[in-house]
């Protein structure tokens, strides 16, 4: 019954999207909307096919930057969360700083980042880390701090060290939160890399999009958007699969 419901939900989603695409296609083909304002879905697919080798080359660069940034963001988040959890004054100082870091408009500081780190891969990775670390860090620190203190007391009464309490209780306890944060971060990662590429550089989907826009090839811009969406969704689902592998016990929640 549940499986049937699942298929029904998916059909609904696909059907809805197909209808939207069909309306869009007809609107452009019939001349109701001019092609230079909005390319039709078929234009985008054709463009994706015709320019596939070029788009693939740029995609590789963006994907690499996004993934490297995400890995750095995860490492940085763990470091920050553990420090803030173990040392109270570090949390008092850093927590507001982390929030402030997210209120700074990235588009404005982005040129500065290019000045600091040059035009190579470093500034792109920096932007990805900047947008990705926040949801991961916050979910980690909130998870670490919401562990039942009676559970910690129980381990303490057994004579467990701080390290043992962290590894055996606190860390596994934060995993569900960590993955929620990571999923949010993952959807930002490709976006972050693209924004980083807008600052300047020679390759990447961001650069490709800018060039396409300057030459009014809107079909190429839309083709890039499609690729960005597909990449982001793929990373999101990869993380969901990873979560199911790492947290096999979570599936029992639904049974009771």
């Amino acid at each position: 019954m549940k499986k049937y419901q699942n298929i029904k939900d998916k059909m609904l989603l696909i059907g809805f999207n197909l209808i939207i695409l069909a309306i869009w296609e007809i609107a452009v083909d019939s001349g109701w909307i001019e092609r230079f304002i909005l390319p039709s879905p078929s234009d985008v697919i054709i463009s994706l096919w015709v320019n596939s080798s070029e788009i693939f080359k740029h995609t590789k660069v963006t994907l690499f930057e996004g993934l490297v940034g995400l890995v750095f963001a995860i490492a940085f988040s763990f470091l920050m969360a553990i420090l803030m959890d173990q040392v109270k004054w570090i949390k008092k100082i850093m927590y507001p700083m982390l929030v402030i870091s997210q209120t700074v408009p990235i588009i404005i500081i982005a040129p500065l980042v290019a000045m600091w780190f040059g035009f190579g891969i470093a500034p792109k990775v920096f932007v990805v880390v900047l947008v990705c670390f926040f949801p991961i860090t916050i979910s980690l620190i909130d998870g670490l701090q919401s562990v039942d203190f009676e559970l910690i007391n129980l381990l303490k009464s057994m004579g467990a060290t701080k390290m043992e309490i962290f590894l055996k209780v606190k860390f596994p306890f934060t995993l569900p939160g960590f993955f929620s944060g990571l999923k949010i971060a993952a959807t930002y990662s490709i976006m972050g890399a693209v924004i980083g590429e807008w600052l300047g550089g020679k390759s990447g989907l961001g650069v490709y999009m800018l060039r396409a826009r300057h030459s009014f090839s809107l079909d190429k811009v839309f083709a890039s958007i499609v690729v960005i969406i597909l990449l982001s969704i793929s990373i999101f689902y990869l993380i969901s699969i990873l979560q199911k592998i790492i947290m096999p016990w979570a599936k029992f929640k639904e049974e009771k």
Binding site: D148, N153, L154, S157, M158, K168, W249, F252, K253, E255
Partner: protein, 250 residues
């Protein structure tokens, strides 16, 4: 039971504890002998859990000492095992894995710890559930696992803090009979906290009734009901006589 001939495994001597400016417990003396089941009975909020935290070494008393096998261990953890009303099981570990935690903390390898727990499963009537996760178990079953974990840490002195407080009346009664059987099999010494008078009489060799503000031991009662006890004992004259005596103290 001539338990008075046996050694004292645990002695609480003149323990007092203040919280901010208010005294919670005052001059508490408690003795637990080997293989004895002793209950601390008192109303909710009478500082029973504070006393357990002091015995387990998590907090220091203002006055008094804790002796285990004659050695002063006041403020030191790692000597007694502690079971809570909440099962506090780790959802990411199966039954055996949860039971193995205290052994891992003691320094045994993961495999060795699991092997040792596997061997004990049948005593705790968990042999069919060893590889289930806590989410798949009922409240009563989860408390069995919690008791198993408590035992794996130490059977010498087990502190049970209202372990069945969160269960419904029927499950609770089944768990009391289960606890009676398990404790007999593992020859454990138990210090038990409850506010349930019948539970206290049914399970205990001796009962310390604590009451007042700050809480003091108002009476020590010896329960001279024959063992093994069954559910019929609740209807006996002796049982009712003890119950009314305790009710007058509270």
């Amino acid at each position: 039971m001539n338990s008075y001939l046996k050694d004292n495994v645990l002695e609480v001597k003149g323990v007092s504890k203040k919280y901010i400016d208010e005294k919670i417990i005052e001059n508490i003396d408690i003795v637990l002998k080997k293989e004895e089941f002793v209950t601390i009975l008192g109303p909710s909020g009478s500082g029973k859990s504070t006393l357990f935290n002091i015995i387990s070494g998590l907090i220091n008393p203002e006055e008094g000492q804790i002796f285990i096998n004659g050695e002063n261990v006041t403020g030191q953890t790692g000597f007694v095992s502690y079971m809570h009303q909440k099962d506090l099981l780790l959802p990411w570990r199966d039954v055996v894995g949860n039971g193995a935690i205290p052994l891992e903390i003691k320094g045994f390898s993961k495999k060795e710890s699991r092997d040792r727990v596997e061997k004990m499963l049948h005593i705790f009537e968990l042999q069919e559930h060893g590889h289930k996760f806590p989410m798949q178990l009922s409240g009563g079953m989860r408390q069995r696992v919690s008791l198993l974990r408590t035992y794996m840490f130490s059977s010498e002195i087990m502190l049970l803090d209202e372990p069945f407080g969160g269960l419904d009346a029927i499950t609770k009664f089944k768990m009391q009979q289960y606890l009676r059987d398990v404790i007999r099999k593992i020859k454990g010494s138990v210090l038990f906290i409850t506010h349930d008078i019948e539970e206290a009489i049914f399970l205990s060799d001796r009962i310390y009734v604590i009451n007042g503000n700050p809480a003091k031991v108002v009476e020590e009662i010896s329960v001279d009901l024959n063992r093994p006890r069954n559910e019929e004992i609740i209807a006996s004259d002796e049982f009712r006589r003890l119950k009314s005596r305790i009710l007058k103290l509270l």
